[in-house]
Symmetry: C2
Subunit: 334 residues, 2 copies
Amino acid sequence: MSKYSISDIAEICGVSKSTVSRVINNKPDGVSEKTKNRVLKVIDELNYRPSLLARSVATKHSELIGLIIPDISNLFYPEIIHGVSTYLAKHGYSMILAHSGYNQETEKELLLSMVDKRVDGVIICSGISNEEFLKEYKKYEIPLASIGRTYDNYLSDLSISGDNVKGAKLATRKLLSTGNTKIALLSGHSEVAGTKQRIEGYKQALNDAGIEFDKNLVFHGDYTIESGTKMAEELIKSKTEFTAVFGGSDLIAIGAIKALNRAKISIPDEVEVMGFDNIYLSEVFEPPLSTISKPHYDMAVEISRKLLCLIQGKTDLIPHFIIEPQLIVRNTTK
Amino acid sequence: MSKYSISDIAEICGVSKSTVSRVINNKPDGVSEKTKNRVLKVIDELNYRPSLLARSVATKHSELIGLIIPDISNLFYPEIIHGVSTYLAKHGYSMILAHSGYNQETEKELLLSMVDKRVDGVIICSGISNEEFLKEYKKYEIPLASIGRTYDNYLSDLSISGDNVKGAKLATRKLLSTGNTKIALLSGHSEVAGTKQRIEGYKQALNDAGIEFDKNLVFHGDYTIESGTKMAEELIKSKTEFTAVFGGSDLIAIGAIKALNRAKISIPDEVEVMGFDNIYLSEVFEPPLSTISKPHYDMAVEISRKLLCLIQGKTDLIPHFIIEPQLIVRNTTK
DNA sequence: TTGAAAGCGCTAACAT
DNA sequence: ATGTTAGCGCTTTCAA
């Protein structure tokens, strides 16, 4: 801990705490140049650093923002973290990062721990949230923003997300357009809202094309490479006919590619593969993955911007924003 | 903010603040069951949450740990974050995450901002630190741990890192063992200490094998895929003969693979490729990359554990720890 | 078992 | 331009 307090500095300089407070906060009404310099000099010599904790209890704001993510090993999230952290740092805020592990109970506790820490706002990436609890959470009056999921009843004050239904439709349609009728769907975490929406989009596209939905082509796992591989292996083993694979996320699609490679099934000639998310890895992977794009980094920056606006009292923001998904054709589709 | 303070709760319950404080802190000396239950009930009904900020200024510890990383888009760091965050959460601490962007000045400011926030300790991943400043930093008396770099003069209280020289030697020797004599080195961020050590290991291995060091085989960039691609392209364009590529990191090696692929150079038949770090991506990439392993996640957990021990007053720790590097042979070497 | 009082390090309203 | 005072929400020592 810093060895000196504002009182120490005041005493040593022979001024009052208020004066010291004024100089460390660069108050406009001001202090005479002379005393200011004297105080500054002592501060510098003693390496005094004002306690932001103490300041926060006095001012009732902490310049702290909580970010809650499910699991950083989903490469989707580092991009979010990067965006949030970069924007916040630029504006004098710090970020407390925590992992919910896709666990509703953990998420609840984290949300509460954020109020204990008196953060000025929280950003949550989830889709698994307990809506009941989110409703309760409002009484703590701490601005809540969410990425990746627009809560149906606007349980968060702010949100930004991709249109999952539309995105999945786009992906499926692309696959249909090159003649595929047997499109396997390798799906993620079924509790997550976005997952259901993607399944819905897939179904709609099939329906629009007059193709019957086939249960045997749908597999459920989670949003990891390993799970993608496992689901694809099951698919292959099941002997169900298929000519395309739509992964619920890029990670799943990449896992599937690994399984297809091992089974000597060539991509995209024998089987086309489509991802979802357009994470950085999808671009650098070999072969580069066709996918549906949502600009995560930009979404993270944008939601951070709005959150700070909200905290600073702006109320004329568009609170809920849905990003138009975009088809990215790379090498795993024809 | 929480609408109620400890005084409010005390007043409503008709007890003193001390009593409320005792129950929220579960003090052993205790409060009678009856009053305890009464207080608990009011707390619950009013959704009172004690302010950790206020508590921290009173107790002089914050249960906050700062983690400073250069750049999260180096996939090395999410693994570190995961390890640190997981361990800390399990032990009641929270993590403030910040990015230095490989910038010495930024790092300095972040370090100071951590003392302003009165964190109980900081973990820094860098190698670019200003040693002069690190020395000064000691006077703030906040425990400092570093990952990935053992500061020469023990400028941090705790450290854990891989042996870069030995690791690079191991990698180079493996490449030499299959008859390669023209081994290109694609190196990262030259300001980073680990970079120099890896170059040193490479040189030593060549020297041990009686092979002359060839400047034309060494390229300098940074620790990204893009940089790896660029360096490999330059290498290819330079017409310098080579039969193996040693990347200063997995990301660089992967970038190089992309360039080699494009140039229709087959791996590992025509050119062998070796990475460094063994990040998760190196395992899932196609082809899976041969590399040198350092167990990041475990290192992160271990340093977190030691840091909390140190904070809690244990002094009999082994402060500086070097992890033995391990050769991982996958598909990019013979 | 409980309370009173002082203190943690800061800000802010009001005086001067 | 500067100081006085009270207050932020908590803990902790001491006394009852």
